[in-house]
Amino acid sequence: MSSGGVRHFTFLYEANTSARGSLELENWITWQRATGSGRFDQVDFRHELEYGATDSFQVSIYLTDWFYESDPAHSGFTYSDTALELIYNLTNPVVDPLGFSIYGELKAGDRLVELESKLIAQKNLGPLILAYNATLESLWEGHDLAEREGELSQALGASYEISPRISVGLEILHEFVLPEWRDEEKMRNFFVGPNVSYRRQNWFVTGTALAQATDTDHEPDFQLRIIFGIAL
């Protein structure tokens, strides 16, 4: 089987989906660091299988999401969840005015259920890729899944191919976190940072470093995400 495709971004999705019949393993590592009164370090890991069901429909399974956290109270590894992700491509980012895809994800774990939907837009202009994601997340967690949280986010990215193997760019993430879906308690976070992607015949690695431009406590001041994908 062949590769599913290369990611040019790590905090955004691209509109194009994997080739029919392709299978790929992706490993994600995300390090988040917060300083100040709500300081913590957290490293998230994801192991994902991505399969091209048709040329416009991609199915992915997050085999496991787990993380290591360290804060003043405790530290340790924790299993988080397993998830199913579906992406359907509607239009092509090269030949159509804009490439669009719709995205759905169902995540379930230890006292955790999450639904996520996304609209993905993309335009390829020669060596430049521009991408936009609008995301709505609903999260239920805790005992009896009684705690609720919503999140609305937008992300914008640009990636420029400086050689057939290397792309560099920028990612911007703007999110509203709504604990218990209450508007008065919402937190606004704004992250911005560079990305770089390197690809070879059967694998790729893409990384993004984001810094928080807002000053929200208990949210990471810095995030680094690296995705390594390999064809199976």
Binding site: K123, L128, Q154, Q201
Partner: protein, 102 residues
């Protein structure tokens, strides 16, 4: 706001970035004689869908007529192209090159 910017950009003069559609004229200029109009259309569809899974589309003039088949062949496994699909992509690229006389 970001969406508006993206839409605005997409409405700019982007035709130079868009691989030309397959016309009877393009098929006639297919000096390599690789494939008919149906094959060329399939080749274009595969070119704009499969190749962008890994990289942006290079300009047709960027590689020579001799180099293009080797390049497509070297990436055909990664892009999951069957032999006949690979031939269709090569036929389309060479037809465009022939028409544009790069």
């Amino acid at each position: 706001m970001a969406m508006i910017c993206l839409l605005d950009l997409s409405s700019c003069e982007t035709t130079s970035f868009t691989p030309p559609p397959v016309t009877t004229e393009l098929a006639r200029s297919n000096s390599s004689q690789r494939g008919n109009i149906v094959m060329l259309r399939e080749g274009r569809a595969l070119f704009v869908h499969r190749c962008i899974e890994c990289h942006t589309l290079p300009a047709f003039w960027h590689y020579s007529t001799e180099d293009w088949p080797k390049i497509v062949n070297s990436m055909s496994q990664r892009s999951n192209l069957k032999p006949e699909e690979r031939e269709a992509v090569i036929a389309y690229i060479l037809a465009v090159r022939a028409q544009k006389k790069f």
